[in-house]
């Protein structure tokens, strides 16, 4: 089946078999390997992408379900000149160690900040609750998300 969707602002299409997941479509057909395969069953969140504004586990969604919809992956955040505020604060605070959880973690955080740029710690913890990190202990990740939120809301207030 042909799946046509918008990925990071670009129309892309691929011919895939019906049982293909969105994660496989992204990684193996569109060469977007940012979203990772961790647990394969919805536990770890490292495959998280945004579909029509909502974070989902791409390992548990059929590629066909994303047809005609807008998908944002970690590759869609930075431009060649500018990192996304989340990427900047994650880097500044050293919020990642091995980095495997990073793409999913940052995408979940983006889904939150796009709706709510000034979240409470509790809201951040809740938004990231479907993302596991085996290295950092989460504290710096949460600080980085709060900092990025502050940067994003100041930028919005200025513009």
């Amino acid at each position: 089946m042909i799946v046509k969707l918008k990925v990071n602002g670009e129309i892309r299409s691929a011919d895939v078999s019906p049982e293909t997941t969105l994660l496989k479509l992204l990684r193996e057909h569109l060469n977007l390997t940012g979203a990772k395969l961790g647990c394969d069953v919805g536990d770890c969140g490292t495959c998280t992408v945004i579909v029509d504004g909502k974070s989902v586990n791409s390992c548990l969604m059929l590629a066909g379900r994303a047809s005609g919809r807008e998908v944002t992956t970690i590759e869609g955040l930075a431009s060649s000149e500018q990192l996304h505020p989340l990427q900047e604060t994650f880097e500044e605070l050293g919020a990642l160690q091995c980095g495997f959880c990073g793409p999913g973690m940052i995408i979940s955080a983006k889904a939150l900040l796009d709706k709510n740029p000034e979240p409470t710690v509790f809201e951040v913890r809740d938004a990231l609750s479907g993302n596991l990190c085996r290295c950092t202990g989460y504290t710096k990740i949460i600080e980085a998300v709060l900092d990025a939120g502050r940067i994003m809301s100041t930028a919005e207030a200025k513009s």
């Binding site: 089946m1 078999s17 019906p18 049982e19 997941t21 994660l23 496989k24 395969l37 647990c39 394969d40 069953v41 919805g42 536990d43 969140g45 998280t48 909502k54 974070s55 989902v56 586990n57 390992c59 548990l60 969604m61 059929l62 066909g64 379900r65 979940s108 889904a111 809740d126 938004a127 609750s129 479907g130 993302n131």
Partner: protein
Amino acid sequence: MTDYMHSFDLFEPASVEEAAQLADKYGKDGWIIAGGKDSFDWFKDRHKRPQAVINIAGLKQLHGVKDNGDHVAIGAVTTLTEIEDNKLLQKNFPLLTAAAAKVASPQIRNAGTIGGNVSQDTRCSYYRDGFPCYRAGGNTCYANTPTAMNREHALYDAIRCVAVTPSDTGPALVALEAEMIISRKGKIRTVPAEKFFIGPAVDITRMTVLEKGDILTEIRIPKKWSGAKHYFEKIADRQTWDFALVSIAMVAKITGGKVSDVRVACGGVQCTPRRLTTVEDLMKGENVGAEMERLAKRVAAQGAKALNYNHFKIPLMGNLAARAVRSLT
């Protein structure tokens, strides 16, 4: 784990009627999916390999929340996030929005549906791992042997199978006296939530009355409990994506300091959500307070039969019942 599923034919029906026809045509070789969160877990473990997968998530007819005067109707493919965020439900039935908000993780609630949540299969790890147990058509229960790990399993009605209901919204819907609307080949039937969930005595291979070919189209909640006091709590080993060890859902009406009506149900203690009728009976007509709390705690788990590793669920049920009562003061 390699992000692999068997090859299947995928159908995207344009109407409930077409979905029902497909479900009927393929019978045991067919499988309905909505969010797919439970289904793909089965497919990826390769224990279930249906030939035809019928995706109903795109059916607009089955989507959304409507105020129909004497009841609120929730389409079966409405996502758990949409339920959590819905103003009408927040206002009328905060018990349900609280329960929906406790399911799994934000990502799963964003795509998982209420229809899938109540229709999902049990999470007994032996059964899910493909052991040929009674539920899978075999002739033994692997979770109820002297060495089995069964701390997550049932305290009640364990007839051959000791699996429990995994659904967080189930107990809330039972407490709220919801009705499930089921379509089969154009015929519609209505089943009370309490009868929708079935135990092993009725059919050991299913968790609900749904048979192949049935489509749950809508869940209706009567306004009877609109505005009632409510309590929901879920105890799990982890705060996220973990299934309830025990959960409690209560709605209660208080008039002049006395409980005029109440319904309480627990998840995680038997194959279906369990009504705590003894707790309800002792509460009705009585003053809320410390004495009611003490009694509720004492009787909540009456009749429970623990397995080797799940004794802790007995005091847990008592404590949850006590906390539910305390929330009324």
